[in-house]
Subunit: 329 residues, 2 copies
């Protein structure tokens, strides 16, 4: 019996309670953000779907080409995190009737730009009207050699924890957009806002990490929350050293000087960088990948036995990171 | 240049202008509501996606299990119309925060019921919050032997036009729900409302028609509109004899006595019956399928050269059918 005083279930609890019992074998228990079905010639298809809603995932008034690119890229980032190459996508739009054709033209232009960048095409979809905010759903299909997919569940004690790129830029970019963070340098402001609007799916790096990484996902809920998902799926614990977080030149001054921005880097979402666990012996191979793909990869901690994620400050003392670093509008 | 006085583009015009240029080869030019990608062992996957929005596709307050079943079934109906067998589905929910767990429990129960009926499982998905109406998207995956998929584009002059089941029930059921149609018999009222809420995807019949039907789709926009889509994709015309429309016992009195309900049967959406063109020589084979699958199939007209759809009344004179028979809330 549900007690009236119980707090509402989180998204994860809702999925576990209501949807996990419905999962097909290829759904991987719904813990991995992707599903697998058999493909041709010894390959598997990786399926993923993500929705974005105006006012929740992007601010009202965001340019339609940026909305389109974010929608496509958050899904491509899920493919990257499984070591998959993109094949195509399905698109469903629910648009307010007042939205004109200029908006659609800009939206389509954003898709066209990214289709060229990522070598992916539109497979189909549906359009409907909504008396509410712009609501967009995309399902992306990727492919990976059978058995090579990198799941969330393979991390082992002794593995090192790595992230690609830099962390916190998107959370700081959103803070700049919302006037919660003032930066004197216009170029740095634009860099951070750009990082918020335009994730960089690490497709090549992800594919190269298949066979090396034991477990991988992309950071969309924030480093600590997503590392928690990886640990829960793998049945392990993780320790992160905050001093090792890779920071961009634009983010560094704020993160190093104010605790709230360090927390944004540790807990903020929307970075869409790869987070993975790999054996310590693979360090040289991973360093070489950094060279070849041009994407920085940084070891920030290690996997241990147990459960949960601990973050240690520069002085070695534990830091409490708010679990909901993500800001909704 | 867009003239200020131009009417807004229809959904089909929007797709043709903005999205068709983005289509991948497997997208079939976005005219077929499904996409094809290679599967294992000489099969192809059929991908389709459809969204339903509260207040547009179902009335506010509809029981959550019915909402779930309609969402799944409208997608399964798309698979049926291609001759495909269902494999699995992805689900994206955008739910108002106020919606409680009772609603989700009912929704999941509806999915569970239909998963058992149709032998399909949940592969993955995404949940998000929305400050607006309930907005649900489902992508269904089916499989078909390579080269056996039935497209919209194969109809030829001389083919007969067939429909499965009975037409107009869903439009009349909606009219009953909205108190636009009064029926004295409670059983008939419930039958029609049920036909509106719970489409019957004709999966077995659809699969059996692969190799027989030249072109097929399911009726979601209304008989005349959808036959128009089939004709446009095939480059042909069609003539329908209104007197041949298959009608349920519940629909017959209204449709036979009032012109508006005849128009609802010809133009109303939501029937989710199969509409197909097949060579006249296949009539005996199709009659046998009716016996074997237990689903009635009725010849209602023929394919001719030319373009467009003509409907002839009982007296042989043309009937003008309003193109938008579909009622939004």
């Amino acid at each position: 019996m549900k007690n009236v005083a119980d707090p509402p279930l989180s998204e994860f609890e809702r999925i576990a309670r209501f949807f996990a019992p419905l999962a097909a074998p290829g759904a991987l228990g719904l813990v991995d953000d992707v599903a697998l079905i058999d493909g041709p010639s010894g390959e598997q298809y990786v399926l993923t779907t993500d929705a974005i809603v105006e006012g929740v995932d992007f601010p009202p008034g965001t340019a339609p080409d940026l909305v389109a690119q974010k929608l496509l890229r958050v899904n491509l980032s899920d493919l990257a995190a499984k070591g998959a190459a993109p094949v195509g996508y399905l698109l469903v739009t629910a648009l307010p009737r007042a939205l004109g054709e200029d908006w659609l033209a800009g939206f389509a232009a954003g898709l066209a730009k990214d289709q060229a960048t990522y070598g992916i095409g539109l497979l189909g979809g549906d359009m409907s009207a909504i008396d509410g905010p712009i609501s967009l759903t995309l399902a992306a299909i990727g492919r990976v050699a059978a058995g090579r997919v990198v799941l969330r569940s393979g991390a082992r004690p002794g593995d090192l924890v790595y992230v690609s790129g830099t962390l916190g830029d998107a959370a700081l970019g959103l803070a700049v957009l919302q006037s919660r963070l003032a930066l004197p340098d216009a170029t740095q402001r634009e860099f951070l806002i750009d990082r918020y609007h335009l994730p960089q799916p690490r497709l090549e790096l992800g594919q190269r990490l298949a066979g090396i990484a034991h477990a991988m996902l992309d950071i969309s809920d924030g480093l600590v929350a997503d590392l928690g998902h990886l640990c829960a799926a793998s049945g392990v614990a993780a320790v992160v050293e905050a001093a090792k977080l890779p920071l961009s030149a634009a983010a560094q001054p704020a993160v190093r000087s104010e605790r709230q921005w360090l927390m944004a880097a540790l807990g903020g979402g929307d970075d869409y960088e790869l987070l993975f666990a790999a054996p310590a012996g693979a360090a040289a191979e991973i360093a070489a990948l950094t060279q070849e793909t041009g994407v920085a990869v940084t070891a920030i901690g290690r996997i241990e036995s147990g459960s949960g994620v601990r973050v240690l400050g520069a002085d070695g003392a534990p830091l409490a990171v708010p679990s909901a670093g993500y800001h909704h509008f």
